[in-house]
């Protein structure tokens, strides 16, 4: 390929063996040592395949652009990475600064997995966000599928958000233009 060739480089699956190489960033954003000046909350859930089986060898990344300033002490401010666990579970402690843009997601989320030939972009919103109906992103999502992007508040104050790769619950994945 010459330097004049601007055809994009295509994607390949992350495969099953990313964990050792990706661990440094998992450690860098671990909830137990998170330094943030903003209030935090937990979004957690399970990543499911088309048979409803948990995907236990995936990687989930979350990007919180509006929280980067509050996390200036972190190695990667406003970033999270976690492998899914044996039950497909993931948990993300997110900084949610006061006065963030109305209708913005609490995190932009990227999903990587063995068997997923290209990573998938999605985003997560909170059901009790008063500005949800002002979200420019959700407004572009067919109403019937918006719920797949909204985390539900649990009795313990955490938010539950499952990611479905397929089925009638399939999470909306984005291509940003």
């Amino acid at each position: 390929m010459s330097n004049n060739d601007t055809r994009i480089t295509t994607s390949q699956t992350i495969g099953p063996f990313s964990h050792e190489g990706w661990q440094w960033a998992v450690d860098a954003c671990a909830a137990a040592r998170l330094e943030t000046s903003a209030p935090t909350l937990v979004v957690h859930g399970i990543l499911y395949d088309g048979d409803g089986n948990p995907i236990d060898d995936a990687q989930i990344e979350a990007w919180l652009p509006e929280a980067a300033a509050a996390e200036g002490q972190q190695d990667i401010p406003g970033f999270r990475r976690t492998p899914t666990g044996k039950a497909g579970e993931f948990s993300l402690r997110l900084s949610v600064p006061e006065g963030r843009a109305a209708g913005a997601p609490v995190a932009y989320v990227t999903v990587f997995a063995r068997g997923l030939t290209k990573h998938q972009f999605t985003a997560v919103f909170l059901e009790d966000d008063a500005a949800l109906d002002q979200s420019a992103i959700l407004a572009q999502v067919p109403a019937a599928r918006r719920g797949t992007l909204v985390a539900r508040k649990e009795d313990d104050g955490t938010y539950r958000w499952d990611i479905w790769m397929q089925t009638d619950k399939e999470t909306v994945f984005f291509d940003y233009r």
Partner: protein, 230 residues
């Protein structure tokens, strides 16, 4: 930046039955193209301290030199305008020379090398160039079908200059006889797109009698980068 629609056949098929685990894991709905100013204009900014000594020399992570064919891999990361993607994080990971990953779930009956763990990271420079030293990985069986062997490859994870440029891919080596038989490589319908993942041997980057050079240039999506910070 602007992100044009990707031409048909360039991305791998999300459902590619010959690669069995895609069947229940690939999304069935097409990705929804949306306007979202933040993902196409901003990105993570890792602190420089994340780079550790020898992160870009995978042969120097053990107490002794690892076994295998020492190589240097380099290339430029550019966007669709051909502009360099500067100061951008790249992660790499791979099997050792025997085709075995340093990973608890890899049960391939090939030896681990106590001096080779097979992962590293680096930043691109002001010209978008990256460079790392490693060992040529071996092919390995992966049980997808009878005699399923992966062509030798190095995994790449790129963060680009804006979030929407994120890419994970695999770099292959020239003339690998396994290309024709690999459902992961062939999940990409477009022949030129498949070829974009094959590095080329480079005498220019070969270092004396120490190691052979391979060149792998990468084009990330996106046009119209602003000069700001990029």
């Amino acid at each position: 930046m602007k992100f044009d629609e990707v031409a048909p056949g360039v991305w791998p098929d999300l459902i590619h039955p010959a690669y069995k685990s895609t069947v229940k894991r690939g999304p069935l709905q097409p990705a929804l193209r949306i306007e979202a100013p933040v993902p196409v204009s901003r990105n993570i900014a890792p602190a420089p301290r994340i780079l550790l000594p020898h992160d870009a020399d995978l042969t120097r992570r053990g107490e002794q030199a690892p076994l295998g064919e020492k190589i240097v891999v380099t290339g430029r990361v550019v966007d669709e305008d051909g502009k360099p993607v500067r100061n951008s994080l790249i992660e790499v990971w791979q099997a050792n020379s025997a085709g075995r990953y340093w990973h608890q779930r890899d049960n391939h009956d090939a030896p681990l090398d106590p001096n080779f763990f097979g992962f590293g990271k680096m930043m691109t420079d002001d010209d978008g160039r990256y460079r790392f030293v490693s060992i040529k990985p071996g092919p390995y069986p992966w049980k997808n079908h009878d005699k399923a062997w992966r062509p030798a490859h190095i995994h790449f994870s790129l963060f680009g200059n804006v979030y929407a440029q994120r890419l994970v891919t695999q770099m292959y080596f020239p003339n690998d006889p396994l290309f024709a038989y690999d459902p992961i490589f062939n999940s990409i319908p477009d022949e030129a797109a498949r070829r974009s993942l094959v590095s080329r041997f480079s005498l220019e980057h070969t270092v004396g009698e120490e190691m052979l050079g391979y060149e792998f240039d990468i084009v990330l999506r996106g046009r119209g980068a602003t000069p700001f910070g990029l």
